[in-house]
Point group: C2
Chain length 214, copies 2
């Protein structure tokens, strides 16, 4: 099967940057949006539990209210699609069972054949000391990585945004009391020609600094 | 600038799976490894702080000791390259200053011109209630996402591994008392032809279940 050229991947990753100003007149096509959605749904997560919801906001009236839940930043209202990745607060036995049932159905195997896997997951989730919400939040950042890299490959600009006010965002998006909570946002669309950060050199420490080889 | 076809991206993401058995005779080429390393170094992080180290293990003697720090899982010894992403435990003022100095040098601007940015970062890092290690760990999962997606695009197999025993791994990799701690692992290489999981259908909840549109 064909692969993607490493040079092209690195060229696109060098092109991406945290977009400060979006061109509010340019929208992501339905075709490209479908790719982005499929990419985040394809993201891996611990045990395959998919402990997330993705809220996609394109309604301009709602987008105009988003900066109030994002420390006044303008990207949520000016971008094409704003995504909030919400983490599941708990991983209870019912949620584990949902996965087991889905695996059995998708792979056409008896639920009973997955009992070992189910016990392994329950043993982990029942024994966690640092809380499911934090664990689940980490998984959300894998999906964020997939979203950002896929956007770059498609030539779509993005700005990951941790600076969201969780309670306000949950209220605005109807997440309050759903068992999920806003964890990280991402604005997607196209950079404005006036965004001076587009030309700023990327600042990354060297491989000699960041990589230890054994 | 050319972009990558959405169909190709999705095809590669559908091809990837958490590899259980690696072919220990197949190694990632230096050329492909360079792409993977550059991709993780290119990963975005909050404020650009890059609160991570990447430990890359190819020495077979060390690889043979890794399963003992990974609940007996065989992937670390059988894969081509095993990566441990280590999170920085703190984000102190000196580390913030390192970023400011690097930005000033890379972009040829006076350090003083970045004082507003520096204060914004210090205000965040000085005021965090949930701890820097957890925050930094989340960033590590963005890099994990970039590593996994880039590997898939290159046709390289991978297995993300949260199941590592932090203290043992830190000791084995010489991370103890460095200010960084093993957070998540990833085995990379090529699937064994006997890995039956390669053919298992991917289990993902539907867009209707995972995506809320506003």
């Amino acid at each position: 099967m064909s692969v993607v050229s490493g040079d092209v991947i690195l060229q696109k990753l060098a092109w991406r940057y945290a977009t400060k100003e979006f061109d509010s007149t340019r929208k992501i096509s339905d075709e490209n949006w479908k790719v982005l959605e499929t990419a985040i749904i394809s993201s891996p997560s611990s045990y395959g539990l998919q402990p997330w919801k993705f809220v996609v906001i394109t309604n301009q009236t709602v987008k105009d209210q988003l900066p109030d839940a994002a420390w006044g930043q303008s990207q949520p209202k000016d971008c094409s699609h704003y995504v909030v990745i919400a983490a599941r607060k708990t991983t209870d036995a019912d949620y584990v069972q949902k996965l087991i049932d889905a695996m059995a159905a998708e792979r056409s195997v008896p639920v009973e054949s997955l009992s070992g896997y189910k016990q392994a997951v329950l043993s982990k989730t029942g024994g966690m000391s640092n809380g499911h919400q934090e664990w689940n939040s980490r998984q959300c950042y894998i999906a964020l990585g997939f979203l950002l890299e896929t956007a770059a490959l498609l030539g779509i600009d993005a700005c990951p945004m941790e600076g969201i006010v969780r309670d306000k965002m949950d209220l605005l998006l109807g997440l309050t009391d759903t068992g999920y909570t806003a964890t990280v946002g991402c604005a997607l669309g196209y950079r404005s020609s006036s965004d001076k950060y587009a030309e700023a050199k990327k600042v990354r420490y060297s491989a000699a600094d960041l990589i230890k080889r054994i």
